[in-house]
């Protein structure tokens, strides 16, 4: 271990261990996400039942995604699906989202927009609860709720600020560069060269978003860990913590991203949703989907615990948590 403190891998692994020791945190997040998703999908699901349950077309749709049917559903029921698919497609395009379509959101698109705002609020609550609970050696869902509500005003501000910064980065770095380079990209000799340009734009965006995320997570972590400090100091300590340990934090973020990507890759390769009835019956399929979500949430909480480990391994006066393995050099390095 270097003088700089626990290495990123060690922090990440400790974080995962901590996450596994408090599985109710993942359960709480899973329930929140499930409820949000269900609220969004319920009108679509009901519409699908109304169109398919008594139609012979339904039988063909059990296993195979009938493209023609989806097109029909979108066309016949703009009130349900609205222009959400276009917005989602725009997000993945080289040009970016067409924001002019936002005020015209209909159906599930409009619901998605309002639920996204609700998700931000719930996210602030859940993150406060998670980080607070992770620092308690003996904790429960009660701690989660208490800590969540206690940190919510500040965390909501951090989340909104981080979202604002992320939006600005997307707009100025990715969309802005796309608009500025549109004609030049067409002048390039090959599509491959154009893809390199797009790749560089994406890389710049990913870098900016990573910095924003790490700064926000660092501030949140210190905010929870050092309640003894005044708010401005906590904020500055948070920024300072990220600036002082950029490689370690980037390392944890990188490991988290790679682990999550590997999980998705495994899902896509195993592909339990494909093959319809032949692969997995409905019950086991839904169970497999939810287990996947749960595992991913365990990793997510592991990431936050890892960041917390990297920044604040020493206990704050408020908590009874004493890190047995903390060395003097760690304490010195973290400024605790």
């Amino acid at each position: 271990m270097s003088r700089g403190g626990p290495k990123a891998l060690r922090c990440f692994l400790r974080g995962l261990a901590l996450s596994l020791s408090k599985p109710y945190l993942a359960v709480a997040l899973w329930l929140i996400q499930l409820m949000l998703a269900a609220a969004l999908i319920l009108p679509v699901g009901n519409q699908m039942h109304s169109m398919l349950d008594r139609s012979p077309a339904g039988e063909k749709m059990v296993a195979v995604p009938n493209y023609g049917w989806w097109e029909t559903a979108r066309r016949e029921h703009p009130d349900v699906l609205g222009n959400f698919p276009e917005l989602a497609t725009g997000l993945l395009s080289t040009e970016g989202i067409r924001w002019s379509e936002l005020p015209g959101l209909l159906g599930v698109g409009a619901t998605a927009f309002s639920l996204a705002i609700l998700a931000i609020v719930l996210h602030a609550f859940a993150l406060g609860g998670t980080l607070g609970t992770l620092r308690e050696p003996s904790s429960s869902l009660v701690t989660f709720g208490r800590e969540g509500m206690r940190r919510m005003p500040a965390f909501l501000v951090f989340t909104l600020a981080a979202w604002g910064a992320a939006f600005a980065a997307y707009q100025w770095i990715y969309v802005g560069s796309g608009v500025a380079l549109r004609a030049r990209v067409k002048d390039l000799h090959t599509e491959q060269a154009a893809l390199v340009v797009t790749g560089l734009r994406l890389l710049a965006l990913a870098l900016a978003l990573s910095v924003i995320k790490l700064l926000a997570d660092s501030v949140r972590t210190v905010w929870v860990a050092r309640p003894d400090l005044p708010p401005v100091s906590r904020f500055l300590f948070g920024i300072g913590g990220a600036v002082a340990r950029p490689l370690r934090l980037f390392g944890i973020l990188g490991m988290y991203s790679v682990t999550t990507l590997a999980l998705y890759l495994a899902w896509l390769v195993i592909d339990p949703s494909a093959g319809g009835e032949a692969r997995l019956a409905l019950g086991p399929l839904i169970a497999a989907q939810q287990v996947f979500v749960f595992v991913r949430l365990l990793i997510k909480i592991g990431y936050y615990a890892g960041i917390s480990e990297a920044l604040t391994r020493a206990p704050s006066p408020e908590y009874s948590y004493v890190a047995g393995a903390a060395s003097p050099s760690d304490a010195q390095a973290t400024g605790a």
């Binding site: 699908m48 139609s55 012979p56 339904g58 039988e59 059990v62 080289t94 090959t190 491959q192 991913r296």
Partner: protein
């Protein structure tokens, strides 16, 4: 003779037959408008200087006192042109670049050497736009009499735009199309010479072309054009001249790009002759060469078997470079432009779909030279129908791909021909009458939805109603009657009527000449256990309460099915009722009334009722409602709902994990 020897001989005979091009007696057709052009490309200035000799024959019964010319390049002259106004600055390749092009006639002399240029004036027969210079009229010193042929010599200078709509340049790449002064079509009712519109293509007479193209030497071996190359020679230091000739065509296009990989292959099929295929390919698409050649061969074979021999000895395929997609997906006599992307997955039939379609235009446009301005469905729509048939037969279904930041990923979701492939029709089903002039549609989406897709679905429906052999005979009759001529919609209807031996005009009145939609649905399908009869029954000669014992025990199910016509347009449809025990009842309904009810008493339990069960009427805008089952099956909707919830959970997590 042994079986092996017989087989070898048979193969040899086939090969011998294939090696000889058995051209129809009509080839080449009598020329009406022939051109001899010599042009010089200034690759740096993106400009052409050329001289042209037009030999034109008056084939009408009236004298012609004037000639009318298309000057298509003037569509790109400025933002006041009709094309620019109609397009709103948006076209095939997105926003039109601030790059303009123009053509100017600098000399024009008549057959006796008379200077015709002073009499040249620009006219706008379609919209009266005084700023549009895409059609010019020039008076003649004396009228051209019926059957008389004249020659007109002219010089012209052209400036090419940055390619965005078919023609122009990108760096050293040149796609030179609609580039020379081209005479209109004189009909009995007068000149048919429309302006260049945003949503229309072209129309001209057949003739013989002899074109010499002088280019810088760096284009050596990298020039492709309509017809056969007959000459290659150096003209001066650093320049080289290519000469191409082709009889019996009605346009001429050429291309040049030093980057091209020029590849050659041969299409050979007994009865359809040999065709040399030239592929002008971008290096980054080198691994797609076989896909291009395969698609071109599939088209020549698939179309040729139904519509007859492709009569020309060559077909050139041009693969435009990155940033010049506006030049792609176009057809010219014996030369087509493709369209693909470096990252296109193999399961997504992009180069195949574009190539089959454009090669198919050699028949619907090239040989059957209908008026693309006034009846665009006769080339684009008919071609889409045939293209769908060929693609389905050769490749099966196409596949959905997801464009993620410019990279294409296959999703493994089938796009079936022809319905899914023409789904854009359904969104604009009642926006316009299909049989409208190209520039009179509500918008480009309606133009393409009607002209391409509605026509294709209409013809595919007709094929299912008539049967494929009858449809093929009708198409062949139409193709044989009108090869190298200008057919109209009524000529195709006549070919159908003559083939079927009945008047099918009603079908075209309700499709080509209507904006009405087709939508049949099963509104009611119920099956309940039959109840024993109640009331007064005769027993021993007296009326008494209660059914006799033999009737008192109810048997089977009483079923009722109601089929409704929701759309404006009526079509004949079948109705199928499927019962327990694989019992099937099928009936035919003329579809004229608004609804039809079927009742089955004391029969087996109804499983499902389906209207148009064989999916013959492909214009039906909503097939989900074409069937109904008394008993619901929740599996599909539940499975897709669960899947949607799962992916939304992931999206929420991505959104919240980030910040």
């Amino acid at each position: 003779m042994s079986a092996a020897k017989v087989r070898v001989l048979a193969l040899a005979l086939c090969a011998g037959a294939a090696a000889v091009r058995v051209l129809p007696e009509t080839f080449p057709p009598p020329p009406v408008a022939s051109y001899q052009i010599t042009c010089r490309l200034d690759a740096d200035k993106k400009a052409l200087e050329a001289n042209e000799v037009l030999t034109w024959k008056n084939t009408t019964s009236r004298p012609a006192a004037a000639l009318r010319f298309h000057l298509y390049l003037n569509a790109f002259r400025n933002t006041l042109s009709t094309f620019w106004r109609e397009s709103g600055g948006e076209h095939r390749d997105g926003t039109l670049p601030d790059s303009f092009g123009a053509i100017e006639i600098t000399r024009m002399t008549g057959p006796d050497g008379a200077d015709l240029l002073p009499g040249l004036r620009f006219i706008s027969p379609d919209d009266g736009n005084p700023n549009d210079r895409t059609v010019a009229e020039v008076g003649l010193p004396r009228p051209v009499q019926p059957g008389e042929t004249i020659s007109v010599a002219l010089d012209f200078a052209a400036r090419l735009p940055r390619v965005s709509v078919r023609t122009g340049y990108k760096d050293d790449f040149f796609m030179v199309v609609q580039w020379f002064p081209k005479v209109g079509v004189l009909e009995e009712k007068g000149w048919n010479c429309h302006q260049f519109h945003a949503s229309s293509e072209f129309f001209s007479d057949f003739g013989n072309y002899d074109v010499s193209i002088d280019v810088p030497a760096r284009y050596k071996g990298k020039v492709g054009a309509t017809g056969q190359r007959v000459e290659e020679r150096e003209t001066s230091a650093g320049r080289i001249l290519y000469r191409f000739r082709q009889q019996g065509v009605h346009d001429f296009a050429w291309t040049a790009d030093p980057s091209y990989l020029v590849l050659e292959d041969t299409f050979r099929e007994a009865g359809l002759g040999d065709v040399r295929l030239f592929l002008y390919l971008q290096p980054e698409h080198a691994d797609q060469a076989e896909r291009y050649f395969g698609a071109a061969k599939a088209a020549l074979s698939g179309y040729g078997r139904v519509l007859g021999l492709y009569p020309y000895p060559t077909l050139s395929i041009v693969d435009p470079p990155w940033g010049a997609h506006g030049a792609g997906g176009m057809e010219y006599p014996t030369l087509i432009t493709g369209g693909t992307a470096w990252s296109d997955p193999r399961s997504v039939l992009r180069p195949e779909g574009v190539t089959v379609h454009e090669a198919g235009h050699q028949f619907f446009y090239g040989l059957l030279a209908s008026n693309e301005f006034e009846e665009a469905w006769l080339d684009e729509g008919f071609n889409t129908y045939m293209c769908d048939r060929v693609l389905k037969a050769v490749y099966g279904a196409n596949h959905v791909d997801l464009d993620v930041f410019g990279l294409h990923f296959p999703l493994g979701i089938d796009i079936h021909y022809p319905v899914d492939a023409n789904r854009r029709y359904f969104a604009v089903a009642d926006w316009d009458v299909l049989a409208s002039e190209s520039w009179k549609f509500r918008g480009r989406s309606s133009y393409s939805g009607q002209i391409y897709s509605k026509t294709a679905l209409t013809l595919a429906s007709l094929e299912r109603l008539l049967g494929t052999p009858t449809m093929d005979r009708a198409l062949r009759l139409y193709a044989d009657r009108w090869r190298f001529r200008h057919p109209t919609t009524k000529d195709f209807i006549a070919a159908v009527n003559d083939t079927v031996g009945a008047d099918w005009s009603w079908f075209f009145d309700r499709t080509f000449f209507s904006s009405g939609i087709v939508d049949y649905a099963v509104a009611e399908a119920e099956s309940k256990p039959a109840k024993p009869p109640q009331g007064l029954f005769e027993k021993d000669g007296k009326l008494s309460e209660g059914a006799p014992a033999d009737l008192a025990k109810a048997r089977g199910y009483d079923s009722v099915v109601t089929v409704v016509r929701r759309g404006d347009v009526a079509m004949p449809v079948d109705i199928l009722l499927r019962f327990d025990g694989d019992h099937v009842y099928r009936t035919h309904w003329d579809g004229e009334a608004r609804w039809k009810r079927l009742r089955v008493r004391a029969g087996p339990r109804l499983i499902e009722a389906v209207v148009d069960p064989d999916e013959k009427i492909l214009l039906d805008v909503d097939r989900t409602n074409n069937g109904l089952r008394p008993e619901p099956d929740l599996r599909a909707a539940t499975r897709w709902t669960a899947r949607a919830v799962f992916w939304v959970q992931n999206m929420i997590d991505f959104m919240t994990v980030a910040w």
